[in-house]
């Protein structure tokens, strides 16, 4: 069985289990380690992500989480929750609205917008907000194929 780092198994929602309007969410505490690990994995050591003083000089509160790191949590939404193990991501369109900083608790949400039985595909509206304020950090839409 495919397990996540917190030992939560990937959901196993079948096409017939999925309906427009169904909503899912989870929370993440974004840490300095997330930024460091993401930089090491991708090679993106841009100072806005790695250097607190530089980030502050550009008007940020502190180091800014990489946008694609935040998108990675949307990947987790698709691959682990909605629909889980039967997912194959076709496309992900995302727009970033506000920076996420280490120490922020974020809420990652997904709501099924459309289910195409013929194409075995769903579209999911996605968002990332700050738990403390509700501030919108990222918003997007995914098209996801569903394995049999």
């Amino acid at each position: 069985m495919t397990m996540g780092p917190d030992m939560e198994p990937a959901a196993d929602l079948k096409l017939e289990d999925l309906a427009a309007g169904a909503a899912y969410c989870f929370e993440v505490l974004v840490t300095e380690k997330h930024l460091d690990d993401f930089a090491a994995l991708t090679g993106d050591y841009s100072p806005v992500h790695m250097d607190t003083e530089f980030a502050r000089s550009q008007g940020m509160e502190r180091r800014v989480a990489h946008g694609v790191l935040i998108s990675g949590f949307l990947s987790r939404m698709i691959g682990m929750r909605c629909p889980g193990r039967r997912a194959l991501l076709h496309s992900l369109n995302i727009r970033y609205h506000n920076p996420v900083y280490p120490g922020d608790e974020i809420v990652v949400s997904g709501e099924i917008e459309h289910v195409s039985e013929a194409a075995r595909t769903i579209t999911v509206q996605l968002s990332v907000t700050k738990k403390s304020s509700g501030l919108l950090c990222a918003k997007g839409k995914a098209q996801v194929g569903i394995f049999r």
């Binding site: 076709h90 496309s91 917008e113 459309h114 195409s116 039985e117 013929a118 194409a119 595909t121 579209t123 098209q143 194929g145």
Partner: protein
């Protein structure tokens, strides 16, 4: 009152431009996948999903398999919208 063929085609063109992210895209009823570089199997699925959402219809797998050009999309949408 049902939309006429021209009106449905105009809405289809809007969907095609959006899916292919190309505001200058021009299509006719004869336009097929071979005429648009980006029209591969995945984009075909994306087109079907986008058209279902735009027109509020449901396609089935057999219908999707038989869609081989813009005209066949148009004919199917007109049929489904008149049900």
């Amino acid at each position: 009152m049902h939309e006429n063929r021209e009106a449905v085609f105009a809405r289809m063109l809007h969907v095609f431009k959006d899916v292919f992210d190309d505001d200058s895209l021009e299509i006719t009823e004869e336009t097929a996948a071979k005429d648009i570089d980006a029209w591969d199997s995945l984009m075909h699925v994306t087109l079907c999903v986008a058209l279902e959402q735009e027109f509020g219809v449901r396609l089935n797998a057999q219908e999707i398999a038989n869609l081989n050009n813009v005209g066949s999309f148009l004919n199917l949408l007109l049929k489904l919208m008149r049900k």
